[in-house]
Amino acid sequence: MRYQLDLTLRQAEGALNRVIGAAERRGYRPLKVDGETQSDGDRWHLRLTVEGEQDDLQLREQLAKLYDCLHVQVSTCP
């Protein structure tokens, strides 16, 4: 299954590595990464497309646990 993740991250050192690394370690292969600094300059908006065999709930809960992850929304790619 392919999933699209929309993430809001604290713009902190290591935040990007932490999110992508966590997804990979939990069995979701990144296919596409895209993002930008939000207008307030304190946050990133990151869009990540991943592929994995497990369901999206696990991915969402694991990423939501990360301190730098302020918001995560996971949707299944058509």
């Binding site: 050192e13 290591g14 590595n17 370690r25 694991q62 301190y67």
Partner: protein, 588 residues
């Protein structure tokens, strides 16, 4: 005041009384600030010892353990202890020195990216590039370490930041432990409804119970429910060992009664456990007829390995408190008599299948020795290493509370036992601390005998010596056609002479005849003491569920082939509709 001096004062303000560490180049300003301060520093002899000691301190108390190391090798040596804390949810704050910010990224002397290296094994980490960030970072580090599901937090502190001016920094505001949100009503009501339908429920108790300070609430819940209880390695002691509802540990080296009950159950009430593979065995054969109510503090554990029919997320003690009146009332409601009969059957089986300790012959039988020792020292805190002795302790020690059992559960880190015992002893100098180790594990952090001797910690070390890596040997015997590859430790040092060289009293015993007196003298010794016990290299840990097998396929030491446990002929349907609700029975 520089930032290091501010940090030492802030740690004291946070309530930290003891830290474990080892100095070096990039952390020298911090150690300079430590000089003459009331913050007690325990000088270990290897940074891994510092991490495990802080880990043991935290496990024994529930407080945040703190360790310190320099950059480079000092920092990398901490990592095993940090990983252990992450996997077993132990609250720790780990402070590492780093090369000055101007040298970072230049492959400077003793520069490693410990911030990056530890990312998968910390709850969170901070790299402090400006002294003015220190107050918020320290506060967040302690808050994160102890709140929610506990875990380790790393603070990497470059040397120039350590000496930066901190005279304008605000006073430190200690972090407080915040209770988790209570579970929602819907989950509690659904749990009660599911329990009402069950005829063969089993309570599955995990390490989350003690982490959530929910031992008392759990005991009240189990007493009210009068249902059989199985415990994970880290859940041991949630019910006292001798409690009539306690069926023992489940899983790979679990008791037959516990595994059989789970395999036959029509409902698992999982409290603070995570369906670890060592507990479940082959997952698709685990509790095949059971529905699942999963109570936990961590949403990410729900459905991670086994889907839950009902999830009860939130502070465990509150959830258990809310459910207790309902489960008590259910004893006298529909299916109450069936559940009572089921409980009686499980408990009778546990009694019938209890381990026997009448081992014949002159040799020392480790399970019998450990059982006897646990009866002689019922309040002791046992710090285990990893291997056969760890499983014998789990199977045969009569734990009264989970904080009596400090064991590297998920990481399974050999070398954990001795430094963890140091941490536990320093946390409570009046406690009786027993380190149970094996000859393989003991040599992994043997240098910490120097720490034991330096601080005259009255730790009692029980060293079970089979001159082999016993657990690996057992698996090679069973699953690798007896090819014993690189497990021979028959050239072990003279452990009595070794301990004596560190100034620690030591004695060796090899036969049953001398064991009782040797244990008496060892326990009575005023100060640290090591008892070296020679045991048979061929001794195994039984029962054993082979890898990739169901818990129904327990292997016994007397059997040449796998002997599947008998299962009942009729199983409850998994598709039974849940229609009954007893909302009024939920306590508010």
């Amino acid at each position: 005041m520089n930032a290091s001096q501010w940090l030492v004062k802030a740690l004291l303000d946070e309530g930290v009384d003891t830290i474990f560490g080892y100095p070096g180049g990039a952390i020298m300003p911090f150690y300079d600030a430590l000089h003459g301060s009331p913050l007690r520093h325990i000088l270990v002899r290897h940074e891994q010892g510092a991490a495990f000691a802080a880990n043991g301190y935290a496990r024994a108390s529930g407080r945040v353990g703190v360790c310190v190391a320099t950059s480079g090798p000092g920092a990398t040596n901490l990592i095993t202890g940090i990983a252990d804390a992450m996997l077993d949810s132990v609250p720790m704050v780990c402070i590492t020195g780093q090369v000055p910010t101007g040298l970072m990224g230049t492959d400077a002397f003793q520069e490693v990216d410990v911030f990056g290296m530890t990312m998968p094994v910390v709850k969170h980490s901070f790299l402090v590039r400006r002294a003015e960030d220190l107050p918020s970072v320290l506060h967040e580090a302690f808050r994160l370490a102890r709140n929610g599901r506990p875990g380790p937090v790393l603070i990497d502190l470059p040397k120039d930041v350590q000496i930066a001016d901190a005279s304008e920094l605000p006073a430190y505001v200690p972090a407080v432990r915040m209770p988790l949100p209570a579970a929602g009503e819907a989950g509690l009501h659904a749990a009660v409804a599911l329990m009402a339908h069950a005829r063969q429920p089993v309570i599955y108790a995990g390490g989350g119970i003690v982490l959530g300070e929910a031992v008392d609430a759990f005991r009240v819940f189990a007493e009210a429910a009068q249902l059989p209880v199985v415990q994970t390695l880290k859940g041991l002691g949630s019910l006292p060992d001798e409690h009539p509802l306690n069926l023992g540990m489940l899983g790979m080296h679990g008791s037959r009664a516990a595994n059989l009950a789970v395999q036959e159950a029509d409902l698992l009430i999982v409290v603070g456990a995570r369906f670890d593979d060592r507990a479940t065995g082959r997952l698709d054969g685990f509790a095949p007829h059971a529905r699942v109510i999963h109570l936990d503090a961590d949403p990410a554990e729900i459905g991670k390995r086994r889907s839950a029919d009902v999830a009860v997320l939130g502070e465990l003690s509150t959830s258990l408190f809310r459910l207790t009146p309902a489960v008590g009332a259910q004893r006298h409601a529909r299916n109450g008599s069936a559940r009572a009969a089921w409980t009686a059957t499980c408990c009778e089986r546990a009694a019938e299948q209890a381990p026997r300790y009448d081992y014949p012959g002159p040799d020392i039988h480790a399970p019998a020795m450990l059982r006897e020792l646990s009866q002689r020292a019922p309040a002791a805190v046992v710090c285990c290493d990893v291997g056969q002795h760890q499983m014998w302790v789990a199977q045969h020690w009569a734990f009264q509370h989970p904080r009596q059992h400090l064991s590297s559960g998920a990481l399974g880190a050999m070398g954990f036992g001795l430094p963890a015992a140091i941490g536990a002893q320093l946390e409570d100098p009046s406690a009786q601390i027993i380190c149970v180790s094996g000859d393989g594990s003991f040599l992994m952090n043997v240098q910490e005998l120097a720490t034991v001797a330096r601080y005259q910690l009255p730790i009692k070390i029980l060293l079970l010596d089979n001159q082999a890596l016993g657990m690996v040997r057992q698996w090679q015997t069973l699953f690798f056609e007896r090819r014993h590859s690189e497990i021979d430790l028959s050239d072990n040092p003279d452990f009595v002479a070794l301990a004596s060289a560190f100034g620690i009293a030591a004695h060796s015993v090899a036969t049953q005849a001398g064991l009782g007196d040797a244990i008496d003298a060892w326990l009575a010794h005023d100060g640290p003491a090591l008892l070296h016990v020679a045991i048979d290299a061929a001794a195994g840990v039984w029962p054993l569920v082979p890898p990739n097998r169901s818990n129904a396929e327990m292997l016994d030491g007397d059997a040449d082939e796998l002997a599947p446990l008998p299962l009942p002929e009729k199983h409850p349907s998994k598709t039974t509709a849940i229609t009954e609700e007893i909302p009024d029975a939920i306590s508010t």
